[in-house]
């Protein structure tokens, strides 16, 4: 079971960060915290969540199993999948400010 937990940890973290950022963005837009959209505060909040999510991958990568066999490689690859997905799917937080 621990191996399975290692395997899904990275993608689960992506799902968590993705949900958090999407939820925070929805709240910020609905609350109209700034007349021009998200505004500086909203954007800072989303970027902070994104960066914190990326930082959370560091311990995951450090505890990922090491070794030559597939049972070692898979959890490692899965962590990188989660990290890559977090970078790619949430990068719009640095590029878009409008609601």
């Amino acid at each position: 079971m621990r191996w399975l937990a290692h395997l899904i940890a990275g993608p689960t973290l992506w799902a968590l960060v993705f949900s958090l950022v999407y939820g925070a963005h929805g709240w910020a837009c609905a609350a109209q915290i700034s007349p021009e959209g998200l505004g500086a505060a909203g954007r800072m909040m989303l970027v902070s969540l994104w960066v914190l999510g990326l930082i959370a991958f560091i311990p995951l990568l450090r505890i990922a199993p090491t070794g030559p066999h597939l049972r070692h490689k898979l959890p490692r690859a899965a962590t990188w999948i989660g990290l890559g997905a977090t970078v790619f799917t949430l990068f719009p937080v640095v590029a878009i400010t409008s609601c």
Binding site: I8, G23, I81, P92, T97
Partner: protein
């Protein structure tokens, strides 16, 4: 045909599992002994009471094929109507019913049950076990599927079928815009069928994790099992949002609780979110098993091993997760914020990467092998051509500006048919032609199958390729006439003509299957010279699959080399010397032998239980809500009888598995299959709870301005009531961990206290649920928690009854373990509910 040189398992097996070989026995004697124990009863009664995975898997697939034919006939009616611009073949309401039922049948009554059936039929054979983990659950799933499907079909015959499209978007499907029972048929019928999906997901998950042959590590199991594991987990997480949405919409239609009514604090977009939280993963739920079948078939057809086993497993993992981050791309045109569009557009593009990894791995496998053009290979190539085109139009639709142009046009209809027929139907046809010898024991008659393939390919692309153009020219989906657009006529007429060609092709395919089963010559064992365990048995496959369970020594062999040794009982747990249905349970990661599970025999209980649920559904449809509540009494009683059937009985001594190994039976071990199954069910249940919480959060953000509470959850008495519930349940969770009769009695008492407090809150402190969506959601959450407390109390009463009967002692836990798990879950959801609803009050 030459031999495949190596097994599909990965090479670095550490093989810590060693089992001494059992003495060789007479194969025919073992066969007779096992058949006597595992076979179905004879006659019609035998059909009703069957719980065997081979019977039920085939029954699932056969029934799904019938529904596919019905859905196909409906599509013919649609194409006939659209062949001319002012088609008078169908009136608008009937046309609406037909296209709604076409989509609903193909998704819920064909695709999902077909993949469930394939998994149920194939997985035990592939993993080296004798049945699924919970045979009665398999049967219950089948009957729920059949009855739910029949309810929907009967509605069509009486002209009251759903007519709002298979998305059932609100407000079109609410009581105002869709009076009558049409929408209720969909909501209740589909939810009834979904019992089958959740049941299948639970047992597929448990079977893969706990019933692999000893020594078959997770990283070495056949790829189909990885695909099915991903699928079953997706079903556990994907279906609950739709169940939640369906329950909310039915409550709104039946009792006026306004979850989706913007005039009373609701929002129609909540339905879209809940629907597509299920709907998009659904596409991958359908695709993954088909991809799993291809990953089994391609290496055998190409006389080689799969290329990139590890990369494919990683791709499956990526797909399982990423597919839950795409749902909003179905909602790009509803006016959501730009940044959200960018998130989901990026995720929709990204998901193409793991899909491409698999496609390249399959192409690479063909490249390194020597492809032989047997009939399954034709359908594999049909898949490549069709699915890749569907995938590419999917990437086009992931791009927001294009999506805005093509949304709800025939382009989308074409895309989804390329993905679903390319990604599911072609692989399923490959699977049918590949595994039919194992089902029928017969050899196919050459010629007709190949002709059917070419007719299907021509008919499919003739119908749907041109439909992209129809969509780009602006034709919306789901219209029945287009008198002002003569430019669409020739395109639609062409699609209609080729759709009949497609139907002829499918009819030829089915005829080919029938001819093989009825007139085919006897096939030899393992005709494809495959390396996997599904072929290491006699054909047609016996009811018990393996006379003895494959051991690590057998996993290193090809199927052909392992079959005789297994038939002679040289593997583990040979025969059925005690006349019981026994199977070997192993550990999750390394597949170490753990214990022996004793499975139930043939029984009509699943039929009775599903029929009782069916009565409840029918009474709900008839609007007899009080009677429907009463109908739940026999459901509860039958569940009790079901649980009694799991009570320990007879010889509970250790079972001889191998000369050097005796293992305990499941009543005396922890964790048993039942505990793993309940854990899997709680994953689905937890997702249902999260879906409700999503509703609370969504409406709190979108419609924050609520009417002030009348009775009010802010009052001191409400706070005291909530506190009492929290304390009682927290104590119950702690007390339930003590395995004594007194502790269980106290657990029962604490649950009853919590239940009474909740009822008092509901009836004296909460506002009328019809007043505002927020009140309605609070009532639903209270109902959800209340049902769980009631179930916990019933489980505690059941455990007390087991104590009274002497079925629980120092070695045997009975249902105590299940009670502990359930009580912990109930306490957790109750505490979270109190916190979330409390925070909602404080923040508003």
């Amino acid at each position: 045909m030459t031999d495949a040189t190596t097994p599909t398992v990965a090479p670095e097996r550490a093989a810590p599992v060693t089992l001494a070989r059992n003495p060789s026995q007479r194969a025919l004697g073992l066969h007779r002994e096992l058949t006597r124990v595992w076979r179905n009863d004879r006659g019609l009664w035998g059909q009703i009471t069957a719980v065997n995975h081979t019977t039920l898997g085939l029954r699932f697939m056969g029934t799904a094929l019938i529904f596919f034919a019905i859905g196909g006939i409906l599509s013919m009616l649609i194409r006939t109507q659209l062949a001319t611009h002012e088609g008078a073949f169908l009136d608008t309401d009937l046309y609406n019913q037909i296209f709604t039922m076409h989509g609903s049948i193909m998704m819920f009554l064909f695709a999902i049950p077909m993949l469930e059936g394939l998994g149920i039929w194939l997985l035990p054979k592939l993993l080296g076990t004798r049945d699924m983990a919970f045979p009665r659950l398999t049967a219950l799933g089948y009957w729920c599927y059949l009855f739910g499907g029949l309810i929907m079909l009967t509605a069509l015959l009486f002209g009251v079928a759903p007519h709002d499209g298979w998305f059932m978007y609100t407000p079109l499907s609410d009581a105002t815009h869709s009076p009558g029972i049409n929408a209720d048929v969909w909501l209740l019928g589909v939810t009834f069928v979904e019992i089958s999906a959740v049941a299948a997901a639970v047992e597929i998950t448990v079977t893969i994790l706990r019933q692999r042959a000893p020594g078959m590590r997770l990283t070495e199991m056949p790829l189909f099992a990885w695909y099915m594991l991903g699928t079953s987990v997706m079903m556990l997480v994907g279906f609950p949002p739709l169940i939640a949405g369906s329950v909310l919409l039915e409550l709104e239609r039946a009792f006026g609780w306004p979850f989706f009514d913007p005039t009373r604090g609701g929002d129609p977009l909540l339905w879209q979110h809940l629907f597509w939280l299920f709907g998009h993963p659904e596409v991958y739920i359908i695709f993954l098993p088909a991809a799993g079948a291809m990953s089994m078939i391609i290496p055998v057809m190409c006389r080689t091993t799969i290329l990139g086993y590890g990369a494919i497993v990683a791709a499956i993992l990526a797909l399982v997760f990423l597919s839950f981050g795409l749902w909003v791309h179905h909602m790009f045109t509803v006016g959501i914020p730009h940044m959200a569009l960018a998130f989901f557009s990026a995720a929709s593009v990204l998901v193409a990467v793991p899909t491409a990894v698999q496609v390249f791995a399959w192409i690479g496998t063909m490249w390194k092998g020597r492809p032989e053009m047997h009939l399954p290979m034709y359908h594999i190539l049909g898949f490549f051509l069709t699915f890749v085109m569907g995938g590419l139009t999917g990437v086009m639709l992931a791009i927001v500006p294009f999506n805005w142009q093509a949304h709800d046009t025939a382009f989308v209809t074409a895309h989804l048919h390329y993905v679903l027929i390319g990604g599911f139907v072609f692989p399923m046809m490959a699977a049918a032609t590949y595994w039919l010898p194992l089902i029928s024991g017969k050899r196919r008659i050459k010629g007709l199958g190949e002709a059917a393939f070419w007719v299907i390919l021509l008919g499919f692309h003739g119908t749907f390729f041109i439909m992209h153009l129809t969509g780009l020219l602006g034709m919306p989906r789901r219209i029945d006439v287009y008198p002002d657009n003569p430019e669409w006529v020739w395109l639609n007429l062409t699609s209609s003509i080729f759709s009949f060609v497609l139907t002829i092709g499918f009819a030829m395919f089915v005829l080919d299957l029938i001819l093989q089963v009825t007139l085919g010559k006897r096939e030899r064992r393992d005709p494809w010279r495959a390396p996997t365990l599904d072929w290491a048995m006699p054909i047609p496959s016996p009811s018990y699959n393996f006379a003895s369970i494959p051991t690590p020594q057998h996993l290193g062999h090809t199927a052909r080399n392992a079959v005789l040794s297994l038939a002679r009982g040289e593997g583990a747990l040979p025969g059925a010397p005690k006349g019981r249905r026994e199977l070997l349970v192993t550990s999750v990661g390394d597949a170490q032998p753990h214990h022996v599970a004793l499975l139930p025999g043939n029984t009509a209980l699943p039929l009775g239980l599903s029929a009782s649920i069916g009565v409840f559904v029918l009474l709900m449809l008839a609007g007899q809500y009080a009677l429907a509540g009463l109908a739940l009494v026999p459901v509860a009683m039958l569940i009790w009888v079901w649980a009694r059937g799991m009570a320990p009985a007879g010889d509970l001594g250790r079972v001889l598995v191998a000369p050097d190994l005796r293992l305990p039976v499941h009543h005396r071990v922890h964790p048993s299959l039942g505990r793993t199954g309940l854990s899997a069910f709680l994953v689905a249940n937890g997702t249902l709870f999260v879906s409700l919480m999503f509703g609370v959060a969504f409406l709190s953000v979108v419609t924050p301005a609520s009417v002030p509470p009348v009775a009010g959850a802010q009052t001191l008495s409400s706070a005291l009531g909530l506190g009492l519930i929290a304390i009682a349940l927290a104590l119950a969770a702690g007390v339930a961990r003590t395995p004594t009769r007194g502790a269980v009695a106290l657990t029962l008492g604490l649950n009853l206290v919590a239940l009474l407090a909740l009822l008092w809150l509901a009836f004296s402190q909460m506002d009328d649920p019809t007043r505002h969506a927020r009140d309605a959601l609070r009532a639903v959450v209270a109902g959800y928690v209340g049902l769980h407390i009631l179930a916990a109390a019933a489980m505690a009463a059941f455990v007390l009854d087991q104590f009274r009967r002497g079925e629980i002692d120092a070695q045997t836990q009975g249902a105590l373990s299940a009670l502990q798990l359930w009580q912990g879950f109930t306490t957790a959801v109750a505490l979270i509910s109190v916190l979330v609803l409390g925070a909602q009050v404080v923040l508003s």
